[in-house]
């Protein structure tokens, strides 16, 4: 990254682009890994009879019972979270960093 450019205020615009890129790339990554995240959460939850289910068994179970749709349950609130999470994180991070007196460069 260009250290000279960082000090200029017009770089604020680049930060927005960076945030948007971050949100898009994280959404794409989550879209691909969502079925894994779902299976992981189910393993962590260990509800009822699937106490000893393995990852593979759970994958098959979900596919047989609910089809592909079953792997993407809950993705809507997950995506509703991305934009507020990224922007709140950024704003609070910057304010806290300044309040603590930590330099950017």
């Amino acid at each position: 990254m260009n250290d000279e450019g960082r000090k200029l205020p017009k770089n604020e615009a680049q930060i927005h682009i960076l945030l948007i890129c971050g949100a898009i790339s994280s959404s794409c990554g989550q879209l691909l890994s969502y079925p894994l995240a779902l299976v992981r959460t189910r393993l962590q939850a260990e509800t009822g009879s699937d106490n000893r289910a393995s990852m593979i068994i759970l994958f098959r179970q979900i596919y047989d019972k609910e089809g592909l749709r079953g792997f993407y349950r809950g993705i809507v609130p997950n995506f509703m979270k991305v934009a507020p999470a990224v922007s709140i994180s950024y704003v609070v991070y910057e304010r806290t960093r300044r309040a603590l007196g930590a330099e950017m460069c």
């Binding site: 997950n78 709140i88 460069c105």
Partner: protein, 204 residues
């Protein structure tokens, strides 16, 4: 200087997770018990009926608590991996090498904090009256796992619980497999991006 950035990161994580906690609880409910709920709004109403507005933040405490160890371990592992890859050459790392270091950092930090992950999921999924708090939930999990692995009906002591947990290969592999694959996919990009964005500011 480093601690200030880590502290700012922890505060930012705590605030953003707290703001989005209701959406997170909805997500986890739909992931695990999605077939029971016809729609998003129906699931949301069920959650409200169960415990009112405060219940939407159930599990947020542990979610916030795990930020600090997660971030600190990730940074240490990232720096360690970069040093190992660089070796004695002192050359700049390529983007692939930094990606590898980021993936390693993600796997290490996720594996270390994984028990807190499990706790979070259990607390988030809990209905009113299931758990009295983080410690109560942890104790319940340990007792149940220990009873499963030893086959005893009598409640075991904390020491027995811990030793039994470590000698139960079934649970170990299950958890390890789940976390490794998930961690590689989900966290390598995320940690790579955050570490890359933040490291120039910290003269790492």
């Amino acid at each position: 200087m480093l601690w200030k950035h880590l502290a700012a990161g922890a505060v930012a994580g705590a605030v953003s997770r707290t703001f989005t906690a209701p959406l997170d609880r909805l997500k986890v409910f739909l992931q695990v018990r999605g077939a029971e709920f016809a729609s998003l709004s129906y699931c949301f109403r069920q959650l409200l009926n169960d415990g009112g507005w405060p219940a939407l933040w159930r599990g947020n405490g542990i979610n916030v608590l795990k930020i600090a160890p997660e971030t600190a371990i990730k940074f240490m592992a990232y720096e360690h991996a970069k040093r190992k890859i660089r070796g004695t050459s002192g050359a700049e790392l390529t983007i692939q090498q930094r990606f590898l270091a980021g993936a390693f950092a993600g796997v290490v930090s996720q594996t270390v904090i994984y028990p807190m992950e499990v706790l979070k999921t259990r607390l988030v999924l809990g209905q009113t009256g299931d758990h009295r708090g983080i410690m109560h939930c942890a104790h319940k999990i340990l007792r149940k796992l220990s009873a499963q692995s030893s086959g005893e009906s009598k409640p075991p002591t904390l020491f027995q619980t811990t030793t039994n947990l470590f000698s139960n290969p079934n649970l170990q592999t299950l958890k390890a497999l789940g976390v490794s694959i998930e961690a590689i996919y989900q966290t390598c990009w995320a940690s790579f991006l955050t570490l890359e964005l933040i490291s120039p500011f910290m003269k790492l």
